[in-house]
Symmetry: C2
Amino acid sequence: MPKSKQAARANLESLYRIFTVPEAPDSTLGAIDQAICDDVAGFLGTHIVALERTLEDIEADFLSPVIPEEPTYVSEYTEFVKQKLVAQSVHTAAPGFVGHMTSALPYFMLPLARIMTALNQNLVKVETSKAFTPLERQVLAMLHRLVYRADAAFYPQWVHNSQHALGAFCSGGTIANITALWVARNRLFAPAGDFKGIAAEGLPRSLKHLGADGLAVLVSRRGHYSLGKAADLLGIGRDNLVMIDTDADNRIDLDLLRLELQRLKSENIRVLALVGIAGTTETGNVDPLHAMADLAATEDCHFHVDAAWGGPTLFSEKYAPLLSGIERADSVTLDAHKQLYVPMGAGMVVFKDPTALSAIEHHAAYILRHGSKDLGSHTLEGSRPGKALLVHAGLSIIGRKGYELLIDLGIERARHFAEQVRQHADFELTSEPELNILTYRYAPRAILGLMKTMCLAQKCQANLLLDQINQLIQKVQREAGKTFVSRTRLRSRDYGTKVITVLRVVLANPLTTDEILQAVLEEQLTLAQHPEVRELLEQIEALAAPLSISQTSTED
Amino acid sequence: MPKSKQAARANLESLYRIFTVPEAPDSTLGAIDQAICDDVAGFLGTHIVALERTLEDIEADFLSPVIPEEPTYVSEYTEFVKQKLVAQSVHTAAPGFVGHMTSALPYFMLPLARIMTALNQNLVKVETSKAFTPLERQVLAMLHRLVYRADAAFYPQWVHNSQHALGAFCSGGTIANITALWVARNRLFAPAGDFKGIAAEGLPRSLKHLGADGLAVLVSRRGHYSLGKAADLLGIGRDNLVMIDTDADNRIDLDLLRLELQRLKSENIRVLALVGIAGTTETGNVDPLHAMADLAATEDCHFHVDAAWGGPTLFSEKYAPLLSGIERADSVTLDAHKQLYVPMGAGMVVFKDPTALSAIEHHAAYILRHGSKDLGSHTLEGSRPGKALLVHAGLSIIGRKGYELLIDLGIERARHFAEQVRQHADFELTSEPELNILTYRYAPRAILGLMKTMCLAQKCQANLLLDQINQLIQKVQREAGKTFVSRTRLRSRDYGTKVITVLRVVLANPLTTDEILQAVLEEQLTLAQHPEVRELLEQIEALAAPLSISQTSTED
């Protein structure tokens, strides 16, 4: 055999080996696999947020755009992953990581995710997913029932109906929200007479058909940014996503909403949908869903509820009433990778009307044939993994009562923490936790007292300085890597339409204790002793000084 | 302590246990984890396609829409998964499963996917992904370079540029194609003067701004169904996705394309994009990319190439020239879960112009701030898992040369199999494999000979009967569960515009051998002996009978 042919054969053999499951766990690959299992366990056991290296520093390990010519040993690559990636990732499961919507995962998700990966099913069609298709349909039915509580007679005819689907499974809440508005749009512009419908004719002709000058979606200013993407993507335009100001509790202001609806009518702009929020991303508040459902009924428009965060509150007998009215929504978004504690990449949208998704139905000759039960004919995405298994596992293993405990725990911990913040002389609670999210800021009572004496311009200036202080505290705390809170910008009820920087805490990790939260505050107090912070505080005091001098002189 | 409080505490404790990594592998959860690892290995080791139970039968295990009230033991649930799900899933990795774009996975993907799941990073922003963000940016650069071969000086300024991204990572090719056309649409209607751009103003006003009566996307009839979804979603309308007929080799007919471009111009319809296909889903053919790039330049429109399937052909020095011209595309879709051998749910789109994605840029106050390196500001999806790790692992461990071997193997095996089909007296090759996909049908030479003597109406009738035969063979073969080929409907070069049913074989699994392919054909020959098939063949013969009698008499 010529040498080049020998080499080619040797390469092929090593390739076959890569694609073959090692027979014994003590083979090289088997041993590496085991070592990784152990290592992940060890990694997840250390409950600290990652130590900070600057991003620029980390980037140095990921610079080359060149795909390596030669293969690398798995062991060598694994070492690289451990050193350069795992050690430099964010411990989203750490109980002190309370800044984003992440949590510790139930441990059973790991082996089950492994099964899912190994089976590598493709949910776009039954031919490549088999039992996973009925499984996903069942999961959609379970969540449909959680939201809509249809009676027992409803489900048997719809769960495995080849013509319809009770909802769409997708990679996350963004796709879920887009799917909901896509369905709403295509139902509004359904085929009628000569008009073939928007799916065929497009938006410009559809508007003409309806005799409308525009199309609008209304949501509160706390609406998720995915709605802006949806308005852009669907051809509606971000200008036509009307953001309504909120009341003092970050809920949509119904009077302003009614005014906008009148304005739109007078401008001949058709309302496509009202979007209610059940758990705003930044403050965890819930819109007045019943009142919005009433308005949607009057306007004859689609009512969508974005419950990506708050949906699982429905598991709790005590707190489900906070979401009252959600059962009147035409569609509801839920994110399984949030409070269903499923690994990243699992969203859903369920529809009250089991025929609603037909508005976006599509077919193809080699798959998704008419009459098949292929789920791909009703989803925005094409090929999709079997993530529904992990949702099914969570619902089964944790159970309704288990999720109830998790929900109750988070809400009650948030209320307790809010009380701590409220009573603390150096912090200001900037939004009450309705669910399990709250915001606050470092703002010593003495400073706030001074600010009360200021004119509006001075107050604004003082708030800008407080913004800087809170940004600094948040940044340094993140970089120290022990705990993590996020920050965002909110309108403050006390400063009119001005926006202030606040710290944001999300309490969904059951391993987060009151002690950890106490430590978060203490660390922030320590950081507030930093000379830079002190100097900014002095600047605020200086702002007030002329006024307080004049006040003093008046009192004299 | 009252009994209910005791019960609540007991429940809480079991909840904490669920969220905690077991310390010893011999704990209950640790043992189950290990058992599942072993079991997956065992399952993947048996290389047969799943035994068929009817879907209705399987559905009986997934009927209840009720979320269980009480928790289930992990061990009990795992048993359910093994019996009801794993045993009833499709062995997409089986070497005899050659009907869809699935393959065996490189084994190292399993432990690395476990790391990814355990770390549960969220790539929407650096704060929840850290090193995974530079990693994903590097992967995008590697694939950008694979496609565009920009010189070494190009990459350092773009790979980790906070203002831009060389591409977007997403859940699959559908989102990638939608993203590409979304970018193209928003670039065509960019802000200018008083016009704020389509992202803000929407499609109807944008069309007016441009003074056009419509918007069109052109692709060959072999275009993926995701393009129809994109046309619908983006408000363009499916009627404006102009599907051009193909030549005898399933490539876009350039003359017809030119005619359509002329027609659109005469109707004042603006061409948004031409879409070339590098590896059609059904037949694996590649459009004339250079000629299409020329036309796109003349039309001044976006040129997108859907290389979800064929892209990795670029790894092969020998076969990369088949995709010549792809480097002239404005955007290119690639699917990592296809020929990069990554588990389901990993797609990408790369853009020639590193500033192109700015057209869909979006921001939010609590994340995705201006100037951050957050990848979420340039993606359609929001929260996303760290799948880029698995692409990076494949590129590193398999290497360019490893992928080259895989590509060469698939193409050469397809050519070899095509030769076998061509020479076989009972099969007809219906599309030549340009890459590693081919189609054929059961159509004995004697029958085809008879059909040559038929009038067109008879030929059509005969083809309908052959369609039935091939559907039957495909269905029974799938149900038998030993091997699997898919079927689709194609225009046949021999029957004018008529569409015929063909069997489709995709050769991307390196464990598929020539012997297995031989066995696929033999099984089909056995199935063709079925009385039902025989009867259908007799019906074709009967169709020809009157003609052959008259022929015979003429010859007399």
